[in-house]
Symmetry: C2
Subunit: 233 residues, 2 copies
């Protein structure tokens, strides 16, 4: 039986190493000021590499381990959601939610019909912002690993992968055989992109906004994967 | 094989009756101005009672039916998500997403540890706003029915229902036997609420924000229900 920090009292933080656990300045400020933690309060600590332990808070920023180090094995095949770059703050929402759900890899796609076009400078700045969102969401949701993020990846290239399914009305039901789902832009996939895709999965009988589709795909992938694990698969 | 408007080209609107289809002024403005529809363009029309048909747009606001009226049967047991009232615009986000996903009934709960407390006047105004969000989201996602919404319902009462499961770490896997899921406030359920609940379901191994949990619960309920339907259950 794998133990997860989510079942354990107290907030959750990341440190560089579980051998000598030091909080970084921002995390220390967050725990002591926003969460008003006091010396001796319980929390869980992870190295972001799958390992975690119970610990007690100290306002010095050096944490005392309080028990065994648990290791959560990585999924054999990483769960991936790719979504086409959309306007405004929706990528932030999608990235936050996919991280909370425990998706392993996030791919921000440049689809042929994406309305948003970004240069390298804008992508670089967005990546810094997204990495911060991922770390915060991973702490908040008590993850032991941070998802990786790739941006911007041309959709036509990514869709050709044999393990990638596009979300499409009338596609197959998502099950544990699926590991990667691609969500199209509001304008839909281009003909070339549809041809490139080798698999189609269904997200249901309604038309979802792009960001809802990405969150639903993440939910279905993790749910299907967890059912398999709990069945001993 | 049930036909859904989601598989059909064009936008989707609601009218009072499919016998004489007249667009209301806001919908006409939306279709002609925002979506730039022209006379003869295809769309789908629903009465919000499970019935829909293909039609052609007319700038007069009177639509011509273009084929058979299809009927989508209601689910035998309505799928319901209850969530505790949370701060800011998060209820709007949850209500929009649950509508898109095709949830039948939305219940806004007053939990003992809800930080937000509203008087009747505030609830009344929020209900008007939420009804607008539901109608817009149902149009945008091509629904044939609008979910009902109840607010505010004391959680302690609702959780005692035999068909209601609370989302709780370590609960059962969601399957087609589940119809109603309750999401607690950020502060968690009170002891009395935990005692009142007769069933527990799991949303996975991570800690989800309240709004993410509600969207994930809606995704899992509709997915489990659709699997059953497609299996002939």
């Amino acid at each position: 039986m794998i133990e997860y920090p989510a079942g354990t009292p107290g907030p959750h933080v990341f440190v560089d190493s579980l051998d000598a656990m030091h909080l970084d300045a921002d995390d220390l400020a967050h725990l002591s000021k926003s969460l008003r933690m006091r010396d001796g309060d319980p929390l869980t600590v992870s190295d972001g590499q799958g390992n975690w332990c119970r610990a007690t808070f100290s306002s010095s920023g050096s944490l005392q381990s309080n028990g065994t180090v648990h290791s959560v094995p990585a999924r054999k095949r990483p769960l991936t959601v790719g979504f086409s770059l959309v306007k405004g703050s929706k990528p932030e929402l999608v990235i936050q939610k996919l991280t909370e759900l425990g998706i392993d890899r996030i791919v921000v796609l440049a689809a042929e019909r994406s309305i948003v076009k970004w240069d390298d400078d804008k992508v670089g700045k967005a990546m810094q912002r997204w990495q911060r969102i991922i770390r915060e969401a991973a702490m908040q949701s008590h993850q032991v690993r941070l998802p990786t993020i790739d941006a911007l990846v041309p959709a036509i290239d990514w869709l050709g992968g044999t393990d990638v399914a596009i979300a499409h009305f009338g596609g197959n039901t998502i099950d544990a055989s699926h590991t990667s789902i691609a969500i199209g832009p509001e304008g839909g996939w281009s003909d070339d992109e549809l041809l490139a895709a080798t698999q189609r999965v269904s997200l249901g009988t309604t038309v979802l906004r792009a960001e809802t589709a990405a969150i639903a795909a993440g939910t279905m992938l993790t749910a299907a994967s967890e059912h398999t694990q709990s069945d001993g698969g």
